[in-house]
Symmetry: C2
Subunit: 259 residues, 2 copies
Amino acid sequence: MYENPGEVRKLIRQGKLKRPTTGLAPGYAQANLVILHKDLAFDFLLFCQRNSKPCPLLEVMEAGKYEPVLTAPGADIRTDIPLYRVYRNGELVSEERGITRYWMSELVTFLLGCSFTFESALEKAGIPLRHINEGKNVAMYITSIETEPAGIFSGPMVVSMRPVKVSQVVKAVQVTSRFPQVHGAPIHIGDPEKIGIRDITRPDYGDTIEIKEDEVPVFWACGVTPQAVALKSRPPLMITHSPGYMFITDIRDEELTVI
Amino acid sequence: MYENPGEVRKLIRQGKLKRPTTGLAPGYAQANLVILHKDLAFDFLLFCQRNSKPCPLLEVMEAGKYEPVLTAPGADIRTDIPLYRVYRNGELVSEERGITRYWMSELVTFLLGCSFTFESALEKAGIPLRHINEGKNVAMYITSIETEPAGIFSGPMVVSMRPVKVSQVVKAVQVTSRFPQVHGAPIHIGDPEKIGIRDITRPDYGDTIEIKEDEVPVFWACGVTPQAVALKSRPPLMITHSPGYMFITDIRDEELTVI
């Protein structure tokens, strides 16, 4: 019953499924959500275009549109995510089960690729992921790598870290390179200080993940980046998904590969 | 003297180089130009995002900016192309050697990838290109494939056709798949009627190119699409390059590959 993305979204819409979306509709891409006023939409779309590794766009909907016709026809972006976050002037003001009452014809919706897709590909390629096996959140860090600014948006890139066995690093690069629409190849391999991370045991978001003797930390651009950058500009209203509670699309993971 | 992209742009800016840009600064990516008023910029950027095969963005510059800092720092988009076209309400009104006198702080510039890049890769892979060898323009056709509309922009996809030996079709797909930022893999292989082309001997743009007995017509999304779609909306002002007179970037062709 949790295999079909349309069925899962229906259960969420009916309030019958309130849990994080990991493991739901396996094989289908899940998406990060950012909703902004149309006055900010060109700058944010340009920011995503210039920073496609941390901000891989799956779909952008014109102002006022709440059906993602390209990635999940029939869905309603206002009701089909189990938990939303509402920010006013850059401050979190509430978590909501639905956002219909916030909806306005001036709102533009951005759906961005999420790393669940390439993580499943890594596991299939025989590369274990410790944060998943230990039931933790991935470790995320604010780096010294600046994103390319666009209009009012700028800020540092946030990365996620996964420890990979030395002998499997090349394979990890190859596997994730095939998925440019969901963060793609790593941003950095090895020494955390080279990208401005002083203490690998203290992530800025998520949980601390152990790195063993025969492993190397591998860093990928993270979908937290666009949210962090957007919040920094203190938009009057911004709505996102709540971490872990993603939008489930009808796009199969394998459709997001290149060659 | 025509090897370095910065040097070539300088000669163009000084009015010392007025010819088409084919063969100039070999190995560097050349770009299509579209300049529109900022009121249309979000819709056009969204159109390109939704239709990345015919509209592969290399750089988008904020309103009023004329230096492409990401793809050709130091260049001036108003003077560094040998020939421009100016359209008013969808009609061509003039061809110009420079567009500084048209410049306004409300103009947004789009640079889109061009097929020169993948054509050079095809030739290096041993796949001859008849239109180049015969000194002709590539054959282009309006198809029955609809682009994904965005805001005010919609219309059919335009494709370019290159005859490829049956034994080299797979190689042609592989080589061009590596260049998603310059149109990428073919849109269609074989029967022209399947994509709405009734008479392959009568292209809508460019020259008629012979298809020999042991060859298959292979079709790629074409950069004429975004211009055709933009003109259809009859924008008060639109400026483009003149066909064949491209903007030469500092980006090496190989930087535009994936894996």
